[in-house]
């Protein structure tokens, strides 16, 4: 059992997202940093898609009502279990009554992440709705009662107890293993989309050359960016069509909005490009107020990046299993 001690924390239960429900107007939801969620699950021997708690606001505290193996991934937020500091991207055993505290995320070089993932043995035990345990905030279903967590909420892990998966080991975060920056600013690769050519040459150049500030009107639905005004050579009124997380829409105001995990599955604003699947976790971790850059990618580069991401996860899974087997062999 995990009791939420923090008030109005905006934390939600997420897995890797809901697929197959677009036909009913249901978007994907899921972790803003799917790599961190999957890695935390692999550390615990869970299915990569098991549900965890995504924490975007700090400080955040929970109390454990039973012994439980946990893994903390995502932002390095100076976590403590009672008074003991914890390493980021690490498996630990929490004992009944202990309090886990997550502080404000700290930077590692140029990288500062904004969301932490509290993964638990077996995954957070909430019912799957339309094939996923992710919280669908707009539809008010999935996750824990279809809403963000509140003080006093109690969640259960699907595999409570300790000793099952081992502890005291971790992973090198992907932000360090696969860094991507441009002039010291976190960067994301982008594939141009249908209306890219509708923008003036100056606007297209400014999109790639400029820094984009993530404004305070940014959340799990979308990141509203501030930077150079983007102008369409010929304004177009579009027919509504399917979109995916990562799509960069430009409303007539000229300031782009990147669709994030809780984005609508369809839209009608012109699309300049799409942040590639393999880099969406980088943007999902970018804090409000920070700046990002965009790098133009080709289809092949985007697919290579996707394969690199999957290879990193496969490698992490292999290392964790190797470590666990060696442990079992050396155990008395």
């Amino acid at each position: 059992m995990i009791e939420i001690l923090s008030a109005s924390a905006l934390a939600t239960v997420q897995d890797l997202g809901r697929v197959g429900a677009l036909q009913w107007g249901v978007g994907t939801s899921g972790a803003m940093d799917p790599l961190a969620l999957a890695a935390g699950n692999l550390l615990l021997g869970n299915d990569a898609n098991a549900a965890a708690i995504e924490v975007p606001v700090f400080p955040f505290q929970v109390r454990f009502g039973a012994d439980l193996a946990i893994a903390l991934t995502g932002a390095d937020c100076a976590a403590r279990l009672d008074d003991v500091p914890l390493l980021p991207w690490w498996v630990v055993e929490a004992r009944v009554g202990q309090v886990l505290s997550l502080g404000v995320p700290r930077a590692a070089g140029h990288w500062r992440a904004s969301r932490a993932y509290l993964c638990v043995a077996g995954g957070v035990d909430v019912p799957a709705v339309l094939g996923s345990r992710s919280t669908q905030l707009r539809g008010a279903f999935g996750g824990h009662e279809g809403r963000a967590l509140r003080q006093g909420d109690v969640l259960c892990a699907a595999a409570p107890g300790i000793g099952r998966c081992g502890s005291g080991f971790g992973l090198l975060p992907p932000a360090l293993a696969m860094p991507l920056q441009l002039d010291g600013v976190p960067a994301m690769r982008v594939l141009p989309a249908a209306e890219y050519g509708h923008y003036t040459e100056a606007s297209r150049a400014a999109f790639w050359a400029g820094e984009w500030k993530i404004t305070a009107q940014s959340d799990r639905y979308g990141y509203r960016l501030a930077g150079a005004a983007l102008e369409a050579a010929n304004p177009v009124e579009m027919r509504s069509h399917g979109i995916v997380p990562g799509v960069i829409q430009v409303p007539p105001g000229g300031q782009p909005i990147v669709q994030m995990r809780d984005a609508q599955p369809s839209g009608g604003y012109p699309k300049l490009g799409t942040v590639i699947e393999a880099d969406l976790w980088r943007l999902g971790q970018a804090p409000i107020g920070s700046r990002v850059r965009f790098i133009e990618a080709t289809w092949d580069e985007a697919l290579d990046a996707r394969e690199q991401m999957h290879a990193w996860l496969a490698d992490a899974r292999r290392l964790v299993e190797l470590h666990r087997r060696q442990r079992a062999r050396s155990a008395p």
Binding site: Q23, W24, G25, A194, G242, V247, S266, G268, L303
Partner: protein, 225 residues
């Protein structure tokens, strides 16, 4: 060949990152016949191994990838061929009537539609509540229906900056389209009225009240000027 005048216009295919691609039928009229061909194309493409979901939009179709193909030409060729062969698929569902209160607090952008179209409030209500609206597609948010059939005189551009929250039941116009919000959330459309109807229940199978091929009619319950 008995080429129709529109046969020269080619559909367009574009990328949505590595997650999906977007097929758009030529033209901008959002004709029902075109949409019926989109439904047929969705049924066909939904069976292809690299496609996870084939999701109709307004005279367009998004294919989300189960696995993005290394070479795109093959699926693009197949899509164009399937489109050329697609016959209209006439889906005929049920007719649902929605009572609407136009204007007032629940229709904050009615004045913007008046200003843009030059029509009076009464003319807008009359033209909006007359047609039968076929459900073309679901999207936007759980249970939301995109409708065809709006009087083109009512077309009003989407808002320059999206509204952060409009309530469920809001009846709105965006470009040449109209629709009803199924739950509270952000929208770039112009809200002209409201209705009360539950469009979505995740415990039901299917979870959405309406599906492509069903038809909506707006009945004037009240006009607040």
């Amino acid at each position: 060949m008995n080429a129709l005048p529109s046969a020269a216009a080619q559909p367009s295919i574009s990328l949505l990152g590595t997650s999906a691609l977007l097929f758009e039928a030529p033209g901008h009229d959002m004709a029902l016949g075109t949409q019926q061909r989109i439904w047929a194309l969705a049924r066909e493409a939904g069976r292809w191994p690299e496609v996870r979901e084939a999701v109709p939009g307004m005279n367009n179709l998004m294919l989300s990838f189960a696995q993005p193909p290394r070479v795109l030409e093959d699926i693009e060729t197949r899509l164009r061929a399937a489109w050329a062969a697609a016959q209209p698929l006439p889906l005929e569902g049920r007719v649902v009537e929605l009572p609407v209160v136009y204007g007032g607090d629940a229709g904050p952008h009615l004045a913007d539609v008046v200003a843009h179209t030059g029509l009076s409030v009464d003319e807008i209500v009359e033209r909006h509540s007359t047609p039968l609206y076929p459900v073309y597609a679901l999207g936007s948010h759980p249970g939301y229906c995109y409708l065809g059939g709006m009087d083109p005189r009512l077309a009003t551009p989407r808002r320059k900056v999206p509204v952060l929250s409009i309530p469920g039941g809001a009846v709105s116009i965006g470009g040449a389209q109209t629709g009803v919000s199924a739950s509270t959330g952000p929208s770039g459309w112009n809200t002209i009225g409201s209705t009360s109807m539950h469009f979505f229940d995740p415990a039901q199978d299917p979870p959405a009240l309406l599906q492509p091929g069903d038809t909506l009619r707006f009945r004037v319950e009240k006009v607040i000027r």
